[in-house]
């Protein structure tokens, strides 16, 4: 049975696809059979990124497939070592199905209260529906300063949820990397690459706990 890691959020642009791709890239580089299930059929961002990556001939090849429903995506999990669910930019009944099936549910969030408050409410809803909070974690993205990271981390922990170690900074270099079909762990800038590596490593550590 594949490990299932799901990236969910009620918002767009928080980093679901960014983290899904980076995790998939690292898993594929480590020799695992990995599949990204892109559930945002209205945008298909990871599908587009995959096309870009194939066109640019970037190794390792990461498999991305679009699925209309969570059930369809979960149905193919057995063929892989790790199934990465790149959720749509809204939560629904399917989010609960995904959360129940996933080993880890990651909700990326920015550091503003406008991002943090609704993000906490989404996890509250999953917790209330019976998903163990140990399987829910936040990932901090688009962070400006260490103080901003610390404040956001403290806020989320106070709400009762874990936050992955490390964070992604707000940097054009990450966007540039992804524009070219790369993952953020493949950026040319070594300091940013290290940060991305550290965040993905803490994610992998959580999945294998």
């Amino acid at each position: 049975m594949a490990a299932v890691v799901a990236f969910v959020s009620q918002k767009g642009g928080v980093g679901k696809s960014t983290l899904a791709r980076a995790l998939a890239r690292e898993a594929a580089a480590g020799g695992l059979r990995v599949k990204i299930a892109d559930l945002d059929t209205q945008q298909g961002t990871s599908v587009d990124w995959h096309r870009q990556r194939l066109a640019a001939g970037i190794e390792p090849v990461v498999s991305v497939e679009a699925f209309a429903t969570a059930a369809q995506a979960l149905g193919v999990a057995n063929g892989y070592d790790i199934l990465i669910i790149d959720g749509p930019a809204r939560t629904s009944q399917a989010t609960l199905d995904i959360a129940r099936a996933a080993n880890l549910v990651v909700q990326p969030t920015g550091a503003s209260l406008d991002d943090l408050r609704p993000a906490v409410r989404e996890f509250h809803a999953l917790a209330k529906a019976g998903v163990p909070t140990a399987r829910l974690t936040f990932a901090l993205n688009r962070i400006g300063t260490p103080a901003e990271e610390a404040d956001a981390r403290a806020y989320l922990e106070e709400a009762g949820y874990s936050v992955l170690a490390g964070c992604l900074l707000e940097r054009p270099a990450y966007r540039q990397a992804q524009n070219g079909g790369h993952a953020i762990t493949e950026t040319r800038f070594s300091a940013l690459k290290e940060r991305a590596d550290a965040l993905i490593q803490s994610l992998i550590d959580r999945v294998t706990e």
Partner: protein, 98 residues
């Protein structure tokens, strides 16, 4: 210097939402419903006969002078429109074939 890191500093962001403030989005359907028209758009009243009878398509064809003479004679005699004669002729044709 004393290590005060374990003492809690007041959060600059304020308290996070309480558990009772859980979102209601998990009840939303997986596939977002397409927007439905709540009120039908205003349709202007139009008493023209073409609209009333739904005879709105242009239907041009070439006919022989004899056919033209026949159909117009029938229309005039029975007080019908040319289209009414053709409709009846088609009905009769279909009735005969069935």
């Amino acid at each position: 210097m004393a290590d005060v890191s374990k003492l809690k500093k007041a959060s600059r962001l304020g308290p996070p939402p309480a558990a009772e403030e859980a979102s209601g989005n998990l009840a939303a359907p997986e596939i977002a419903p397409a927007p439905t028209a709540t009120a039908s758009p205003y349709r202007r009243r139009d008493m023209r006969s073409a609209r009333r009878t739904n005879r709105t398509l242009p239907f041009a064809t070439r006919v022989s002078p004899e056919f033209d003479e026949r159909i117009r004679a029938i229309a005039e005699r029975d007080g019908l429109l040319l289209v009414e004669v053709m409709e009846r002729a088609l009905d009769a044709y279909e009735a005969q074939r069935s």
